[in-house]
């Protein structure tokens, strides 16, 4: 039973309308996904709504519906369409060491395609606030989808994954949970810190980055992709966090706001090493046949992050909001 949780957002098309109706107690009826944009607002929101039942749910939607077979049947064609599109759109590579090695190279100069480079050098406070609002969909449940992979791993990969997750969840201290540090950052930027508050405002590109983690986390068959995804996040986080911390300092954000990214510079420099050598290395030793999935996880993450970055930068360069609902 539950009636608490974030409010349900409004529909963005037929698919999400059908899911919303089913969540509100209507009889689940499938809408064909044929011809629908796999990365578009409608499909991504429909998928997001269904995945959210595995995290904190929505106000007015009973908790038991997480495993409602009618809702699961609605979810399957949506995630198949999303997954097929990703598999078609990533490069057909399968060398994990090379895929992660490529991420370890940093540009010397300014990278005009990178949101963190932009925010560090040219970002304005309203853009930083939009960035935090968009990222809050993930950071307010930071590391949660990755915890689902733990029972699917063994030995070195499992031990190392749990150690990194322990850090993400505050190493035993509630006030240090990374999701809490992000809520503190949001408060410093004058944003609403309630879980799920910015779902209505989030563009499809942002929903897709979170749906990717849920997809990989919820499917045991995709454990290799989840590990590849996690490695990508940890490898790219430290230098990006340094740039974001620098942007926050330049724009005069508060101490808590700086703390979040300062913590990630240092923590993720460690996590990167542990994830590459122990989690990825351990999984490759244990289940070498998963190597193409690990690489798929790396490239799918890069693809969706690039799409989100391009969306944000395009709007900001035209001096307009990248959100569906501008911040007050």
């Amino acid at each position: 039973m539950t009636v608490t949780g974030p409010p349900l957002p409004s529909a963005r098309g037929e698919l999400s309308a059908a899911v919303l109706s089913a969540l509100l107690g209507g009889r689940p009826h499938a809408v064909s996904v044929d011809g629908r944009d796999p990365y578009g607002d409608d499909l991504q929101l429909a998928l997001y709504l269904l995945y959210e039942l595995h995290y904190q749910g929505f106000a007015g939607v009973p908790e038991e519906r997480e495993w409602d077979v009618g809702l699961l049947a609605l979810r399957r064609p949506l995630e198949r369409r999303f997954l097929q599109a990703l598999r078609a759109d990533v490069p057909p590579l399968s060398d994990a060491e090379q895929a992660l090695g490529d991420l370890l190279v940093e540009p010397v100069g300014h990278d005009g395609t990178s949101v963190s480079h932009h925010l560090e050098r040219d970002g304005e406070l309203w853009q930083l606030r939009e960035y935090a609002a968009v990222r809050s969909l993930y950071h307010l449940k930071e590391a949660d989808p990755h915890a689902w992979v733990i029972p699917r791993l063994r030995g070195r990969a499992k031990a190392a994954m749990v150690a990194v997750e322990f850090d993400e969840f505050g190493a035993g201290r509630a006030e240090e949970i990374h999701a809490q540090l992000f809520a503190d950052l949001m408060r410093d930027l004058g944003l609403e810190t309630a879980y799920g508050h910015y779902l209505e405002a989030a563009p499809a590109e942002a929903l897709a980055t979170v749906n990717l983690m849920s997809l990989f986390g919820l499917h045991r068959a995709l454990r290799g992709a989840l590990v590849g995804h996690f490695a990508t996040v940890e490898v790219t986080s430290s230098p990006a966090s340094r740039r974001l911390a620098s942007a926050l300092r330049r724009l005069g954000a508060g101490a808590a706001a700086q703390r979040f990214y300062d913590e990630h510079v240092e923590a993720d420099a460690v996590h990167e090493q542990v994830v590459r050598h122990e989690v990825v290395g351990g999984l490759l030793d244990d289940e070498p046949r998963l190597e193409p999935d690990i690489v798929f996880g790396v490239h799918a993450t890069g693809l969706l992050e690039d799409r989100l970055g391009a969306h944000l930068l395009k709007a900001w360069r035209q001096q307009r909001s990248a959100l569906r609902v501008p911040l007050s």
């Binding site: 370890l104 190279v105 940093e106 540009p107 010397v108 100069g109 300014h110 990278d111 005009g112 395609t113 990178s114 150690a163 322990f166 850090d167 190493a171 430290s238 230098p239 340094r242 510079v265 240092e266 923590a267 420099a269 460690v270 990167e272 090493q273 542990v274 050598h277 391009a310 930068l313 395009k314 360069r317």
Partner: protein
Amino acid sequence: MPHTPERLRRVVIDPGGPLLVEGPVKVALGDGSIATSRRFMVAICTCRRSRTYPWCDTSHRRRTKRDRELP
């Protein structure tokens, strides 16, 4: 995790990267100050370029010269 005579503390050298030491650790710096970290694993900078010295901040990474701009 206790570091007993039976279970030795592990230190891993990443060639071209940091020194990985199981935490918690105290690092005595050349100027007499001491840095502490309570992480389960600590990455100690060996390239001396870190802006959070003695902790690694990934400044050792290889760099490409190419600037990138959006089309």
